[in-house]
């Protein structure tokens, strides 16, 4: 790889097939790209052709969405092997997965399902993260989830749960600011409090995405992590609050559904870069 693996503390963009040609032809000035690992688990063809080309010019983050780290039983050995092969082939600067489960009893649900925040679940997730890191030979980042329900049996906060996993496995964290707003709104706590309490020293990457606004039948606001539109102003405000405390961090524009043209994504990335630059200027001025 000609470009170093390290993902810079700049805005990056989630790579979509619709934009392959534009990116290869124009080499736009964005810091890095992120791919969903599962989309590159075919044997060959266009996806690998373009990812090879793009990796030559950009740092890469590999984001898994299907390992089911919170699932029962040992992690899927075939899936671990596929992740290891991608990690070796593309030498990503960052590798991440979710605090969630997505498979059970041999069925893959294609969604990130919630866990109860118990000591039992923290021990399981911690052991699975350790296993993943052992297979890959590197640290991974674990992402905070967007949730729609919680569990009676939960005995600790989400942040304490994540900290328990970090302490056991030595993993880092991926802070999805949109997920914070979605979960906080759905569960009725203040997103600012969550951001202020989050252990930013463990954070290696930030996600920014769009959500859908709905109401449940009782009339309460229900936010859905849809990744199908522009980032909400409330999320931008929370992001600025995060950067003000933690400094610049690799920050991803996630737009996975109803994917817009490249110029729209590029403008969102520019905006995230401006938030980070403004914070640096502010820090220098003080």
């Amino acid at each position: 790889m000609e470009v170093p693996a390290k993902v810079p503390a700049r805005a990056g963009v989630g790579l979509k097939a619709q934009h392959y040609d534009t990116i290869v032809a124009e080499r736009p000035d964005v810091g890095w790209f992120e791919v969903h690992a599962e989309n590159y688990m075919g044997a060959g063809g266009a996806p690998h052709h373009y990812l090879e080309a793009i990796r030559r010019d950009y740092a890469l983050s590999l984001h898994g969405v299907g390992l089911s780290i919170g699932g029962e039983g040992p992690l899927d050995a075939a899936h671990l092997a596929r992740l290891k092969a991608l990690n070796e082939r593309y030498q990503p600067g960052l590798v991440s997965e979710h605090l969630a489960w997505s498979s059970h009893g041999g069925v893959f649900f294609n969604d990130l399902l919630p866990l109860p925040y118990t000591a039992e679940a923290a021990a399981r997730v911690g052991a699975h993260v350790e296993r993943l890191q052992e297979v890959l030979g590197r640290q991974i980042l674990l992402e905070n989830p967007a949730t729609y329900v919680t569990f009676e049996s939960s005995e600790m906060s989400e942040i304490d749960f994540l900290l328990a996993v970090v302490q056991r496995s030595g993993c880092g964290l991926l802070l999805d600011v949109n997920n914070v707003l979605v979960s906080a709104t759905n569960q009725g706590y203040a997103a600012e409090d969550y951001i202020d309490a989050f252990p930013l020293s463990a954070v290696g990457e930030i996600h920014l995405g769009g959500h859908a606004r709905d109401r449940d039948d009782a009339g309460a606001t229900l936010l859905i992590d849809a990744h199908d539109r522009a980032i909400d102003d409330l999320v931008w405000t929370l992001y600025a609050r995060t950067i003000a405390r933690g400094g610049p961090l690799p920050s991803l524009i996630e737009w996975d559904n109803a994917v817009p043209d490249w110029a729209t994504l590029f403008a969102e990335a520019r905006r995230a870069d401006r938030v980070m630059t403004a914070e640096l200027d502010h820090a220098r001025a003080v």
Partner: protein, 262 residues
């Protein structure tokens, strides 16, 4: 208190069966009958998998319409949910499912079109391999021509249909909207990806049998004989030229080598 294992089993069961109540482990406020919050998970699963099938089978969708397709996809997902977190090739059995899907009985070619679309998906993600030029055959001693094996491209899929499946696909997918479709005409088709884009080719008479036997690892002479059985005017030279022009041959293996299936 309920353990993690029981909690996930109950959650998973309620996820795939909307007739079941919200699992008891879910915090009370969310279990109120008017709350749709658990349904967000049910919906995420179903909608995202329907979208995966819509993206994989656009011609089938065009042939039956968006609403019909959604209903068929939903029934298929309930019957055959994905077993792997890699969804790139999800839907391999969708064509077989449509063959037996009673509401689609009046569209008997639907399963074949679905199998063709899945073959395209398979070819899109298959391993890369560089096709050989036909000139490479000239280097084979004439005495060996009967017994060499042609290794075919790893992306190749062969499909036989009682319907004009390739033309139906071309018309419905928009690849060739003005194509004339003669429903009395059966088509045998090769789908492959010699470079970056996937080709769909209707095979001339005898070509399908010839390629099926080559793909099974039969020597060139034996494959030609098999083709001759159903197609008395099978001309080997012509079919060899066609085969190499397709980009379907990736290796010529000497007579005594172990057969390798594509």
């Amino acid at each position: 208190m309920q353990g993690l294992s029981d909690l996930q089993a109950a959650f998973a069961a309620a996820l795939v069966d909307p007739a079941l109540p919200v699992p008891a482990a879910v915090r009370r406020q969310v279990r109120l009958p008017q709350s749709r919050r658990f349904d967000v998970y049910r919906n995420n699963m179903m909608v995202s998998l329907i979208e995966a099938l819509e993206a994989a089978f656009p011609a089938v969708r065009c042939l039956v319409g968006a609403d019909f397709f959604k209903a068929a996809a939903k029934a298929y997902i309930r019957q055959t949910p994905p077993a792997s977190p890699v969804l790139l090739l999800y839907g391999e059995s969708f064509g077989d499912f449509l063959d037996g899907f009673a509401p689609a009985a009046s569209v008997p070619y639907l399963g074949d079109v679905a199998r063709l679309e899945w073959a395209r998906l398979f070819a899109h993600h298959a391993a890369d391999a560089a096709p050989l030029e036909i000139g490479r055959l000239a280097a084979v001693p004439e005495s060996d021509l009967e017994t060499v094996r042609l290794r075919l491209h790893p992306s190749l899929r062969l499909l036989g249909s009682r319907f004009p499946v390739a033309r139906l696909w071309a018309a419905a997918s928009g690849a060739d909207p003005s194509v004339e479709v003669d429903m009395k005409r059966a088509e045998q088709v090769a789908v492959l990806r010699p470079a970056l884009s996937v080709d769909v080719r209707v095979l001339p008479s005898g070509g399908y049998d010839f390629m099926v036997h080559l793909a099974e690892g039969k020597p060139l002479g034996a494959a030609a004989e098999a083709a001759l059985r159903n197609c008395p005017d099978f001309e080997l030279a012509l079919h060899l030229r066609g085969l190499f022009q397709l980009g379907a041959v990736v290796a010529i293996e000497p007579p005594n080598s172990e057969p390798q299936q594509a």
